[in-house]
């Protein structure tokens, strides 16, 4: 059975990949290592976890304005997530998604954090704003 979450696509493109879910906001500068695509903030629930190639499902961005630059670097270094899904729209996260150039859906309902679990296979459609939980 598939579940559909409907939101707003802010970066176009369609991708299918495994979800990596966190309920903690993510810091870019000081929060991720761009060379390995890994969360490095010690108190974060994804501490030490790699997001490369995953659909990063998270509440939103926090911390430094370096957020967009750090996620942009993951694209340039080949460690970027495959897609992003978040519901708290801020300049940091929105600009970050744009320069990471991965399909991105924001403000989806029902709340992705309530529905999606790490390991679910997701289809993220940045054109239509639909996130589908495939299995």
């Amino acid at each position: 059975m598939t579940v559909e979450l409907r939101g707003r696509g802010i970066v176009p493109g369609v991708v299918e990949a495994e979800a990596l879910v966190t309920h903690d906001p993510i810091s870019g500068f000081g929060g991720i290592d761009v060379a390995t695509g890994t969360v490095i903030e010690p108190r974060h629930e994804l501490f030490g976890v790699c997001f490369t190639g995953k659909v990063l499902v998270f509440p939103g961005a926090k911390g430094s304005s370096g957020w967009s630059g750090f996620f942009q670097s993951t694209r340039l270094m080949g460690t970027a997530p495959a897609a992003m899904v978040f519901n708290v729209v801020t300049t940091k996260a929105v600009l970050g998604a744009i320069v990471t150039r991965v399909p991105t859906v924001v403000e989806a309902a029902p709340n992705p954090l309530d529905v999606v679990r790490t390991g679910d296979l997701l289809r993220v459609d940045g054109n239509t704003g639909v996130v589908t939980v495939l299995q």
Binding site: F29, G60, G63, S65, W67, T91
Partner: protein, 426 residues
């Protein structure tokens, strides 16, 4: 998003390919935010000159214009970069030659950055090279729309100066500098500037450290929201608010706060909330203060301190003077490093006042342009560091894998002299 004729013509290439790419990025960005239009700005603070592995690769292959196109405009096209359309300054970047040899930070990065400074200076970027442009002459006025990045500068500009900026990034500031435009969204709109949360300090906020602890707690509690702070608050100075704002933006994502009677958009508590309902206060008392202190100190284990870092955000001249005063006639413990980070313009004043010489005679250093978090480099062999900055205590363990102690300036200087951490919450 609605565009003016001027904006449409920029998008269509009337002012050249770089400006067209800049407008394209601003439109994609503004649409994604849900902005209805752009707003004019004549004050941009961004980052262009700081090296990163990805940028170094782009520069090697295609030069600085390519690096600006990809990183500051999100464009893969090749074009020349014209002079910045509006006043633009460079924020803090990597270490410059004053830090050469003090860390593992590479000589190549220092040279690359010097090259970038020449390139961007020719295009009208003022190389202030500090996270605190407001300390060295870039002081937007109340109500002015600006496009700034650097979370601690953004929260200071919005809250203390009453200027209006969102927390911009490298690409949006790069595009704003070439167009004089930024999305009219978020903090640019009056209705988005009113407080959402009330914080009541029941414990006395009367020192630099207390402002940092309070800020770290406030950021943790409100995250991205807009706090108004009341209670037992002594009159803060520039350094206190610089520290407070940076701490709120580190543990959370605070971009604007109000202190009734102190900050310009909150003459009263009612004004801070725009005449709306004032919510029940979140209390900051002894338990919350201790939480902030213990959380910031949870990443220290060994009392053997190698490195003391002061000045984050970059130290004011008064802070440098205070460090010099505490170090007068004293000598750092062997093997312990002490750095004071300050804007280069203030370093010139510190030199003139003799503060630099006093700090150096004691074995410390006054450095400019950057910080260990930004450059990702500390003195070689550093295992345990101490700082009076909540922001550095939060970030450096993650970035450099070292232990951290957070304390007062006096405790930090004591650690520098003895090589031992003896700080505790008073």
């Amino acid at each position: 998003m609605k565009l003016t004729d001027e904006e449409s013509s920029m998008r269509d290439g009337v002012e050249g390919d770089a400006v067209a790419a800049a407008m394209d990025l601003l439109i994609r960005y503004g649409d994604a935010l849900g902005a209805e239009r752009l707003v004019d700005t004549r004050n941009v603070a961004g980052t262009m000159t700081q090296p990163s592995p990805a940028k170094a690769q782009l520069v090697r292959e295609k030069g600085w214009a390519k690096a600006y196109a990809v990183i500051n405009l999100d464009s893969d096209d090749d074009f020349e970069i014209p002079r910045m359309k509006v006043p633009t300054c460079q924020l803090q970047h990597g270490f410059s030659d004053d830090a050469d040899g003090l860390t593992s930070y590479s000589k190549q990065s220092i040279e690359l950055q010097a090259d970038a400074e020449s390139y961007y200076s020719e295009r009208g970027v003022n190389v202030l090279a500090t996270c605190t442009p407001y300390q060295v002459g870039n002081l937007p006025v109340r109500g002015e729309h600006v496009a700034w990045m650097e979370s601690s500068a953004v929260v200071y500009a919005n809250s203390v100066l009453g200027a209006r900026t969102n927390c911009e990034g490298g690409a949006s500031t790069g595009a704003a500098a070439l167009t004089g435009k930024i999305p009219y969204w978020g903090n640019h709109l009056t209705e988005n500037r009113y407080a959402t949360h009330l914080l009541q300090a029941d414990t006395s906020i009367d020192t630099f450290q207390e402002w940092g602890l309070l800020g770290y707690y406030v950021g943790e509690v409100v995250q991205e929201a807009r706090p108004a702070i009341v209670g037992s608050l002594a009159q803060p100075d520039l350094a206190d608010l610089k520290h407070f704002g940076a701490a709120t933006a580190t543990s959370g994502g605070v971009e604007i706060y109000h202190i009734p009677g102190i900050t310009p958009e909150a003459p009263t508590l009612e004004a801070a909330f725009g005449g709306g309902t004032v919510p029940e206060a979140i209390r900051y008392g002894d338990a919350e203060r201790r939480w902030a202190y213990e959380t910031l100190n949870a990443q220290g284990d060994s009392d053997d301190v190698d490195f003391i870092l002061l000045g984050c955000p970059h130290a004011s001249l008064d802070q440098v003077a205070q460090v010099a005063h505490l170090l007068e006639g004293r000598r750092l413990h062997e093997g312990t490093e002490l750095w004071v980070m300050t804007p280069r313009a203030l370093r010139t004043m510190a030199d003139r006042n003799g503060y630099t010489q006093t700090i150096m005679r004691a074995g410390g250093k006054v450095l400019t342009d950057s910080c260990p978090a930004m450059s990702r480099a500390a003195p070689p062999g550093t295992r345990v560091f101490a700082t009076d900055s909540a922001k550095q205590a939060h970030y450096l363990p993650a970035i450099l894998g070292i232990e951290a102690w957070f304390g007062t300036l006096d405790e930090c200087v004591d650690a520098a002299i003895t090589g031992r951490w003896r700080g505790e919450l008073a």
